[in-house]
Symmetry: C2
Subunit: 219 residues, 2 copies
DNA sequence: CACCTTTTGTTGAAATTTCAACATACTTTC
DNA sequence: GAAAGTATGTTGAAATTTCAACAAAAGGTG
């Protein structure tokens, strides 16, 4: 576990918890680490939510797929970020999304019931954990608001621009890299890939943005 | 405060807290009640989030409005439900939404810092409050997932049908009332009002649904 | 480096949505 | 209960998106 310490310390779930305590706590929580290859499903839709996931390396996508096979990318979690914590906290019987590794990824899984309920040996950090979890859930709520602000736009162009402006704000720079290829970006913005491609082309021609692969710049 | 006891007891924030303790706690938290007329803004976009809101009577809408004045309805909160709790917990400097009363509404406002930080006289329920808040945030996260599942659909018909099916599931009946008029439903589903109206008309003609004003039935 | 696979861009036709405008129905107010 | 205002349904034209198909580019593999 020691080699993951730097990532874990940066994870909001473990804020205000010292290094040494962190290691002991992980043990107490029964945290386990698993490696998933690219495109592997970490948690499949329909399963009960038991685990909080933490991305130690790599990255994951939270996706929904409807009857007709249309994929929608709800969110991504990258190194140091959590996923599935809301489902686990709410103890949902069947999660409505699938969690998929987008590259070879090391994932820490923590049984949420261990976080929520005080353990026998009173390791004494549950209150802090619950507080941190609450903060993280609040932050994720706000991220959803941002996503809804983007996808509530009516046209492909508006969705794309408001997404790119959000990225620029987050990166604190007009030049940034997005975590999506074209198809994935389309699935995230809920638009057609071909329409998105041509819209990117138009914005480039108009001198509003510059784009190469996953790298974008707002001019 | 006594007259609000029934509503407050049903509010997830006060779960596992007895009647008598609840009243004392409200006092300790400095909870205040305000009446807002229809269409009045309870919290305006851009203000710092300080308060957790609880709808004692009436109902509120959480809305976003872009530069061009296009309104999008993010969510509604009805009697016994909270709003703005995520922004307050995350202590955001400028909330990205406006909260508006959709009818004359009694609103309880609680300074979130009083919930998060233990008070001087150690009234002793903060841990339970924080736990409840965490649960509520998790549930709201899941509601966002549901909203995203609805609005990520590409066509007006699909958005409408998946919204109505969600309502039916929630009501546990094929017959239910939605909290929106036509324009509001359009703003919630992120579609055009006139297109929505005609789609409702088509679905009625096809015998798939029945609709009168805010009442719907899936056949 | 050649081959195969995947990703991206492009195109035009079909379908859908938006927009604007108006008619009708329903509410509210005096 | 008449008048004014608001909400809903309807329409057709314009704009946009989706769909399907293909070409070009990029990436991976032996």
């Amino acid at each position: 576990m020691e080699k993951y310490l730097d990532v874990l310390k940066a994870c909001p779930l473990f804020e205000e918890i010292g290094d040494e305590n962190l290691l002991r706590m992980l043990n107490c929580l029964g945290a386990k680490v698993q490696l998933f290859d690219k495109k592997y499903t970490i948690i499949a839709e329909g399963n009960p939510a038991k685990f909080i996931g933490i991305v130690l390396s790599g990255s994951v996508q939270i996706t929904q797929t409807d009857f007709f096979g249309n994929r929608s990318i709800v969110a991504v979690s990258q190194q140091g970020e959590m996923f599935s914590e809301a489902f686990a906290c709410a103890e949902v019987k069947a999660i409505p999304v699938s969690i998929i590794a987008t590259e070879p990824s090391e994932i820490m899984l923590i049984d949420c019931s261990h976080v929520l309920h005080t353990c026998a040996n009173h390791c004494g950090f549950h209150q802090q954990l619950i507080f941190n979890l609450m903060k993280s859930l609040a932050v994720k709520n706000i991220l959803f608001h941002q996503k809804i602000e983007v996808t509530s736009k009516r046209s492909t162009r508006e969705k794309l621009m408001s997404y790119l402006m959000l990225c620029a704000k987050k990166a604190d720079s007009n030049s940034f890299t997005i975590p999506f290829d074209r198809q994935e970006l389309a699935d995230y913005l809920c638009v057609e890939r071909s329409g998105l491609s041509s819209e990117i082309g138009k914005l480039k021609k108009e001198g509003i943005i510059d784009a190469h692969k996953k790298h974008f710049e707002i001019l």
